[in-house]
């Protein structure tokens, strides 16, 4: 006999305890992201529409903002600095990436390493180094021909330095994703090398170039460390936010500037999403990766260009080191550790360094766990599409939110008197939460990519063997994904060590951080100690990277034995 379900009623499958576990997990992550991201951002939005007493005033604050030239002029300044820095940075990074991926120039491994160095320093460190190089007493100030380093010139050079690796990573990827067959075709058609370069290379990498342009522009415009140190009287949006909030306690206006700052970031986020979806289809499984051939002239030319860029990076970092260890620049250049006597300066002393270590450690541990589990839930839950997509969307949102803006949102949300979570204000916890949220997206995407590479049937097999999903997660998914988990942890640690923008609003005297201390010491005129702190942060980030790699290499060998045939 046929038991026909009523036409139109969809059959529903009963849920196993695993399904419940996963769905509950999704809801927990959703709640977490709502509290640490969505609510702070909406608090910021409503703050911009309120007056000081908290009454709704519509767009009045915006009207006042645009009517105040001293504020709205910053938009033009930010645009100018952003555009010039982006043009320079992306051009240099393209040359560098081209040399690394498309030529056989010598020393490519070293250049690759050099190019990544700025990732390990807080953005204010290159600015401090620039003061020593081109400031009033700088050893190379003659090169500026009378122009002052304090202002747009300094901001641009500093910005190019620290955004360089971000552009580099994107462009290396874009240039590696090229199909050798296109080159062969172009050659066979008798196109000149120059024409091939334009029609194949540039056109093939166009999405990557576009993506790099937007990413760098956003980073420059929303960065706070460089203009704070070397901007002088040249106001930009990022420093305005800081001045309004920290200097004048004008939170409403701070929120308005923050929202203005949100625009380029959101735009760049949208462009990046489009680019990502386009780039995916460019390479098919049949593509043959391009293998560069030796070409003396090209190798030498690009080798030379990369050498210059590499030298610039080394000299900025070297100057910072020199400033940190020289007794009294420029009068007494003998070696001294007196600038590391942080306890006798403003800014929080050695305690702030210890705080930074703790903060970065906690962020790495909790952030990695939360982000990896979140990505796992998004990828492996059956059904419950709405929940999964909501998590995925929220996870990508931080990419569109500059750190300063996020930090502001945190003040407004967590410091609101009625908020039951008010107690974490001013503690280490809020710094960790904010930093995890700030760097969530890239880590999430790394985890998702790794999880997508796993056989989707692992979970299915476990279900058919009636093994709870929890066990398969711990026994299979985590061990197999260990390399990606390590990458996420290092990424979070290094960024937590170097970040200034979000946390500058959230630290308390008890939880001052190293990067913030460097900022404050610089503000107080203790430039050498600020350089020393920056150098310390660099060394820590670099050391942790090395140690972590060595340690996990052992762990990986033990757990990834299966990888070796």
């Amino acid at each position: 006999m046929r038991a026909l379900p009523d036409a139109g009623t969809r059959l529903r499958q009963g849920l196993s305890s695993d399904d419940w576990t996963l769905r509950a997990g999704i809801l927990v992550i959703l709640a977490y992201l709502t509290v640490t991201l969505l609510l702070p951002m909406s608090a910021l939005l409503s703050k911009a529409l309120e007056d000081r007493s908290g009454a709704f005033v519509g767009l009045q604050n915006f009207a006042r903002y645009f009517a105040t030239p001293s504020l709205s002029n910053s938009i033009g300044n930010s645009l100018f600095v952003g555009l010039v820095s982006t043009a320079i940075c992306v051009s240099l990074a393209f040359v560098y990436a081209y040399g690394l991926t498309r030529t056989l120039m010598p020393g490519r491994a070293v250049f690759r390493l050099l190019g990544a160095i700025p990732l390990l320093v807080p953005s204010l460190l290159p600015a401090i180094a620039l003061v020593y190089m081109f400031g009033n007493q700088g050893y190379a100030s003659g090169l500026l021909m009378g122009e002052s380093i304090y202002g747009p010139i300094g901001i641009i050079i500093g910005s190019v330095f620290w955004t360089f690796p971000h552009a580099l990573i994107i462009l290396i990827t874009a240039l590696s994703l090229s199909d050798a067959r296109l080159y062969e075709a172009s050659e066979a058609l008798g196109a000149s090398p120059w024409r091939t370069f334009w029609t194949v290379t540039i056109s093939g990498a166009r999405y990557g170039i576009l993506s790099a342009i937007f990413v760098v522009f956003t980073l420059v415009v929303t960065d706070f460390g460089v203009p704070k140190v070397i901007g002088g009287q040249f106001n930009v949006l990022a420093t305005d936010v800081y001045k309004q909030v920290v200097g004048q306690q004008n939170f409403e206006m701070g929120a308005v500037v923050g929202l203005v700052l949100l625009l380029p970031a959101v735009l760049s986020f949208l462009v990046d999403r489009i680019v990502q979806s386009r780039q995916g289809v460019q390479l098919t499984g049949r593509s043959i990766p391009y293998a560069p051939k030796a070409n003396r002239k090209v190798d030498l030319a690009l080798g030379g260009a990369c050498l210059l860029i590499g030298l610039a990076i080394v000299s900025v970092l070297g100057t910072a080191f020199f400033a940190a260890f020289a007794k009294l620049w420029p009068y007494d250049l003998s070696f001294s550790l007196r600038h590391f006597d942080f306890d006798n300066m403003d800014g929080g002393g050695w305690a702030s360094y210890v705080n930074s270590l703790r903060m970065a450690g906690l962020t790495a541990v909790f952030g990695t766990a939360i982000i990896f589990i979140g990505a796992y839930l998004v990828e492996k839950t059956r059904g419950f599409r709405a929940g999964r997509e909501a998590v995925h969307f929220l996870a990508l949102l931080p990419m569109a939110v500059p750190g300063l803006v996020l930090g502001l949102g945190y003040i407004f949300f967590f410091n609101a008197p009625g908020n039951p979570l008010n107690f974490i204000y001013g503690t280490m916890a809020i710094l960790v939460l904010c930093t995890i949220a700030h760097f969530y997206s890239v880590a999430h995407l790394t985890a998702v990519t790794a999880l997508k590479q796993l056989d989707p049937e692992f979970e299915t097999v476990s279900q058919s063997l009636r093994v709870p999903v929890r066990r398969t997660f711990l026994a299979v998914t985590v061990p197999v994904s260990l390399p990606a988990i390590r990458d996420v942890a290092i990424y979070l640690f290094v960024n937590a060590m170097t970040t200034v923008s979000a946390v500058v609003f959230l630290y308390s005297p008890a939880t001052s951080l190293a990067s913030v201390a460097a900022l404050n010491m610089d503000d107080a005129g203790d430039i050498a100690p600020a350089a020393a702190m920056g150098v310390l942060i660099f060394c820590t980030a670099a050391l942790v990277r090395v140690i972590y790699t060595v340690l996990t290499a052992g762990l990986l060998r033990a757990t990834q034995r299966w990888r070796h045939r």
């Binding site: 097999v461 058919s464 063997l465 093994v467 026994a475 299966w562």
Partner: protein, 372 residues
Amino acid sequence: MHALKTSARPVSQPYLQLTNITKRYGSFTALQSVDLTIHEGEFICFLGPSGCGKTTLLRVISGLDIQSEGTVIQAGRDISGLPVSHRDFGIVFQSYALFPNLTVEANVGYGLTSRRMKRREIAARVGELLTLVGLTDQRRKYPPQLSGGQQQRVALARALALSPGLLLLDEPLSALDARVRLRLRTEIRDLQQRLGLTTIMVTHDQEEALAMADRIVVMNAGRIDQVGTPLEVYSRPATPFVADFVGKMNFKRGRLGPDRRVTVDGVELVYAPDPDLRAQPGEEVVLCLRPEDIVVRGISETAPNRLAVRVLSMEFIGNHFHLRLGILGSELVLEGDLSINAVRDLSIEVGRGLTIALPPDRLRIFAQGTGR
């Protein structure tokens, strides 16, 4: 649909019963009102071209995908809406989905460790399973260190660990090279018979299905075209699709005449009585004939469908010859397969004449368009 006339193993109580299974993905219908009955201990193959819905049907049976409509009854229990973990089956995927970071032993014992079993019992059961699939000496290796065939066996052992009532195999052999595939075919079939385990295997390889199955379920665009033993499916295909998909076939358009006659390109042929034929004299039909059914030896003067032909081309395939035969006095060309012996004995060569006969009971006739 073709009625089930014979079954390899007539068993009273059906083990698995699918009724009116429909599966839609949005506006696309992947399975359309599928009915199927499977008996205990049977080896069933789902056979059909890629994309016809074989995997989808397997996933409905396992609960990995839920059907849009219809019921699944396994061993008398309605499991239509049950989650995967509440069903009783073992499964092997095309990718094997072995856990790469666990040893062979740990993979096979994976489902056992979460039950309340003593360590000793688990080890004993794992040993038993590894013996069953002949991998005792590989127990401490990791899956990436094994050959494809060995991985396959580990996946099989893992699927059998909980002694499931139903074994599901989704294209288990298609990732292997030809030689290993042949060996594993026999191994899987032997194992299944030894355990008396009801098994469903998905494949797009007709040879595999013919060699292994008790009954073959031939699928076409989300529907079942025919269910039958390999011999039935091969010699009495229920639709032109089945005729085309299983084995090689001459397809010729013709017109039905009176008295069980059919005219193809001006050649009149006699066919054997066929109760399933749904065409009236005068209608257009499709005539099917397997190349190997063309007779060339011992043809009597009075044999029906006796034809004089010329050999148009010959191709040596390895264990037989493939010929194109032009019927004299007509446009009709038939493909024929002849043994090496026959070619030698009759000194067949390209361009020479030859007499052939088409046995009336080997001619299959289908009404145009609608199958039968």
